[in-house]
Amino acid sequence: MKKEHNHMKNKKFGMCIDLDKCTGCGSCMVACMSENNVPFREDETDKRKSITWMKVYKITNNLSFPDTEVCYIPRPCMHCEGHDGHSPCVSVCPATATDYDMSTGIVSQIYTRCFGCRYCMGACPYHARYFNWWDPVWPAEMEKYLSPDVSPRMRGVVEKCNFCYPRYQRALDNAYNDGRSDIDEDEYQTACTQGCPAGAITFGDLNNKSHAVYKLKKSHRAFRLLERLGTNPKVYYLSSKEWVHRAGDNYLEGENLKNIKKSHH
């Protein structure tokens, strides 16, 4: 089995989110919370203390009616590759509690090793990392609905989207039981992908030519958030609107979007 793994090409799981299709309904957020046993409290007024592995931002082009346009940006963890796996958050964690997996491209979080220093949160420009300010408590009858494959997190540790990694493990287990060494595209899909009623989210191996994300990421509509920082994220966004592309990064006045993007690809 080990030999087979060595011969397998490294995967690079990633996501393409079509913002032209996204309606901002929030189903991806609900699916994510449900799948990943994300804790919540009775009072979630303070959104900066709410844990939302997947968060939908609403942006506008700042023009007045009738030219106003709105776009919703679902934001999971970007699973940044940085330069050779040097993600902003992974390199700063003092206790190696978060890791960049070269075989999948997934940035993991080891809850039982995290001691809650929160340096990774400070390092992430996307605010994709969340701290458990409270112990997770679910209503008694709800405990039966928790995902059995996903460990709940304790107070005092950081958590974040892991591209539903337990689903990947389950898919690998199934493939192994069937005598296969690899899985098909549809065998491993994230909860947000499956939960999106508009089909705006596509998930797969960015290295695999047969996967939909491989083609989508090359679309002229594709861009990534904060590419200029060099975070090298694995979540691509698709939009036909130039103002949306421009909102995805920071530009100086008069900077030409296309020239900047070219120099960073």
Partner: protein, 412 residues
């Protein structure tokens, strides 16, 4: 009642007055301890930190008190390595202040982590690429060095010194203190630097990010430099406060003047480096990431360009100039103002490199995040000051901290 413990040839206040002082400060200390226990038992939900402010008041306090405690390593370096003998008259106090600062920093860190019982993971599962790992290792080692430097002073207590073993131990420790001072200076350079690196390596945060030399961002060097410049100012400041409270002159003016002059040179050269760094960051680094300087200083209720002006001009260039001109630094009022400004300046720098980094939005559609600490955060931040005051009071009363005290205040 406790006269047998008080060093010979010096006068101390009556014991009831001393105890009253301890009790008053002890109440503040207990308030901090109560808040600390709340944080440990109930968790960090007792704070006003949130997912935008993973680092907040406590990390600032850590960085600030470590910078202020930098007087210990730098004065030690000057005294033991560069042989500036006059500084032996203030080195004890510099070590004590350093010891208080570093033990306080470790205490605050122990409250600040979400799972304090796992704190040892930073050593056990150490990630060598993390600046925080370097901080943890160097900080712990340097704290041990400071404890070793403080022990001979404790052994000089009149009653302890009577025991031959402790007398010889203290004597021999004094003899090899240069080795510890050198070790301390080396360790301190690294952890002061790595604290600067904590912010400087954040390439996802354009406000903090700096290029640098090999694996060290420029903030690495700037933090060490500023601690060496402002740490001695804080040592002088605390010495002057102690003199004011005790109503005695404890250190001769020539000692203070020498340390102030060296601080002036360090602060002046640091300001040149800081200005060059700021200009390069504002003109090259930030624009290459799509930001102008003013993007970091507008659209929010607090962080205006004034903060940069105060840090560089009011608390940097101005004190440096005053400390470098003998006539000016020998004017007492100017000296006190200057060392206070320099101490505030380094604290302001640490505030900016922690809090403003968290506050400034990076995604174009994100907004500034403001933060006001909870009373539990404030109480636990005041706690080290109370603890420090008590330790200074006890040490001053029972240990010969100031070698020139007898000469300057002869008892009739």
């Amino acid at each position: 009642m406790d006269s047998a413990l008080i060093p010979k040839g010096v006068k101390r206040c009556p014991l009831p007055v001393f105890i009253l002082g301890i009790v008053i400060i002890g109440i503040v200390l207990l308030w901090g301890v109560y808040a600390m226990i709340l944080c440990w038992l109930k968790g960090l939900n007792q704070t006003n930190m949130n997912d935008y402010y993973g680092f907040a008041l406590w990390i600032w306090a850590d960085l600030a008190i470590i910078a202020l405690g930098g007087g210990a390593f730098f004065t030690g370096l000057l005294r033991y390595i560069f042989g500036l003998d006059e500084l032996k008259n203030i080195i004890n106090y510099a070590v004590l202040i350093g010891f208080i600062c570093y033990s306080s920093a470790l205490l605050i860190l122990a409250i600040d982590v979400g799972q304090p019982l796992r704190s040892w993971f930073i050593f056990w599962h150490a990630n060598v690429h993390s600046m925080l790992t370097e901080v943890a290792f160097c900080l712990s080692c340097y704290f041990s060095v400071l404890a070793i430097e403080y022990i001979p002073l404790i052994l000089e207590n009149r009653q302890i010194d009577k025991i031959p073993f402790f007398h010889h131990l203290g004597h021999n420790m004094h003899k090899i203190m240069a080795v510890f001072a050198a070790t301390g200076a080396f360790l301190s350079c690294f952890h002061q630097g790595s604290l600067g690196g904590v912010a400087g390596v954040l390439y996802g945060r354009p406000f903090a990010y700096r290029e640098g030399l090999l694996v060290w961002p420029w903030t690495f060097f700037l933090f060490t430099w500023s601690a060496a410049a402002c740490g001695p100012c804080f040592t002088i400041l605390i010495t002057k406060i102690t003199e004011f409270i005790t109503g005695k002159k404890l250190v001769k003016d020539n000692v203070i003047d020498l340390l102030a002059k060296i601080s002036g040179w360090m602060l002046g050269s640091y300001m040149i480096a800081k200005i060059v760094d700021t200009i390069y960051w504002a003109m090259v680094t930030a624009p290459s990431l799509g930001f102008t300087l003013m993007d970091f200083y507008k659209d929010n209720p607090f962080y205006g360009i004034w903060i940069l002006f105060v840090e560089i001009v009011i608390c940097g260039i101005l004190p440096a100039v005053i400390l470098l001109i003998p006539k000016l630094r020998q004017n007492k009022l100017l000296l006190y103002t200057t060392i206070t400004l320099a101490s505030i300046g380094v604290c302001l720098n640490r505030w900016v490199m922690v809090l403003q980094v968290m506050a400034a939005p990076v995604m174009s559609f994100d907004t500034w995040a403001m933060y006001i600490p909870s009373w539990q955060e404030i109480a636990t931040t005041i706690l080290p000051f109370a603890y420090g005051a008590i330790l200074i009071m006890i040490s001053f009363r029972y240990l010969p901290i100031f070698p020139q005290e007898k000469e300057l205040n002869p008892v009739e």
